[in-house]
Symmetry: C2
Subunit: 238 residues, 2 copies
DNA sequence: ACCCTAGGTATTGTTGAACAATCCCGCAAG
DNA sequence: CTTGCGGGATTGTTCAACAATACCTAGGGT
């Protein structure tokens, strides 16, 4: 008898837990840049905002920690990590190893499986024409996730998802989205064409050069960002 | 109430949370094989055994989920995952990508940095002479963790740790530890010698053959284990 | 004036109990 | 034999409180 009400327009069980929904909301805020690096996420205040209990919120924190979007510091709270240059080098090193290997060992490609990649490329090109660089970045991430997904390995997909999520953290530090994302659009299209032609070795080589270049551009942007004035991070922590 | 007791055992705060300690204990039970795959971990019973609250226990579950040692099923509980053949192939695929890349890109090796590897090899050889195949397996894991550690990448180390922990789950399914672990001893020594000679390319190639062979042996063992009669798993729980 | 130490306060870590939602199992009906 | 329906057990979530720790501020020594 207590049941019932669920059938109507009420909040459906959603096949996901409250912790996951809270994590979704936090993930959005982090990737959108609303929560800036090094900011402490207060349990007390987030409980009010997300309308979940402290325990559930902490479980959401764990979820996001798993994705690399938050870090725990015992007795001090959770923080959005700030990536430094070493982190970027580290991330790209792992990324090259994973992505290049995934492409290098590809077999039995057909046009059907390339379809999601082509959709991402088209999205990136359209967004670039609109000047929506954030969406270009998002399409680029989706492209690489689909690219790695061709390997058909669950664990490789997981590592990649974590990698890209963490990498996205670096984008908010940087204020030159166009120079950063624009070159990727053409590179992604070139990659798809190489794969469509069955040239996996060529695609792997192109991808490696692509990633090395992307890393260099990001590093340079990060250094410029930090060098100029330095302590310009006057952030009211409300 | 029952509290207090904490003063006697550990004077120092331990620098770790109760959830981590509970996770440590669970991890031990899983890797030692006390908790068998597909067994559900009841919250109620583990609360009594580990002397933590349900919330803390659930946080420990999350921690181990991150390591791949447990899986969550919504509204059904947590389970020790049972690796099937696809999982093994998946794990080894990622493992080859990571380890071979780590070795292939090694630079500036000197004898000092090889020291931990030599210690693991010696441990493996000594344990093999004693017939302690479980310890041979442990030394082998330590060897590979140190091997990958030479790359000096935090995230690669993390992925590797998770990988090896998950791989260990497969060992308990298998009842022929000697045939499985014995060949690794000599292979590990050969790898160290190649690295000491500065032949990283040779080492990378040897490692790839090594891992392919290791995967094949594990797969065969798993198939034999499952094919024969099947329901021989008369395991007294607790 | 500076450094170091001590105490107060805010925040996190952990607990236990309670309730709601969901799943699993056995059983009756077709 | 399959199908639909309770009843009981387990997980999911909330709440309120206490303990432990870190941060901040004030006071004393040099």
């Amino acid at each position: 008898m207590t049941g019932g009400a669920r059938t109507g327009a009420g909040p459906r069980p959603d096949r996901s837990s409250a912790a996951e929904r809270a994590a979704d909301e936090l993930r959005r805020r982090i990737t959108e840049g609303e929560l800036t690096p090094q900011a402490r996420l207060s349990e007390e205040s987030l409980v009010d905002v997300l309308h979940v209990s402290r325990n559930t919120l902490r479980e959401a924190f764990r979820l996001l920690t798993h994705e690399g979007l938050l870090v725990y510091r015992l007795n001090r709270g959770v923080f959005v990590p700030e990536l430094d240059e070493d982190d970027l080098v580290d991330l790209y090193r792992l990324r090259r190893a994973i992505e290049c290997d995934a492409v290098r060992t590809l077999r039995d490609l057909d046009e059907t499986r390339l379809q999601p990649l082509r959709a991402d490329v088209a999205d990136g090109e359209a967004s670039a024409r609109r000047g929506d660089w954030r969406q270009v970045g998002t399409a680029n991430m989706s492209f690489h996730r689909h690219l790695v997904g061709l390997a058909g390995s669950r664990r490789i997909d997981e590592v990649t998802a974590r990698l890209l999520a963490e990498l996205r953290l670096a984008f908010h530090i940087i204020d030159i989205p166009q120079e950063l994302h624009e070159p990727n659009v053409a590179r992604n299209r070139a990659l798809v064409e190489l794969l469509a032609a069955g040239d996996v070795a060529g695609a792997a080589a192109a991808l490696e050069a692509y990633l090395l270049d992307s890393e260099a551009r990001l590093l340079e942007a990060l250094r410029e960002r930090r060098a100029p004035s330095g302590g310009a991070a006057a952030d009211a922590d409300r």
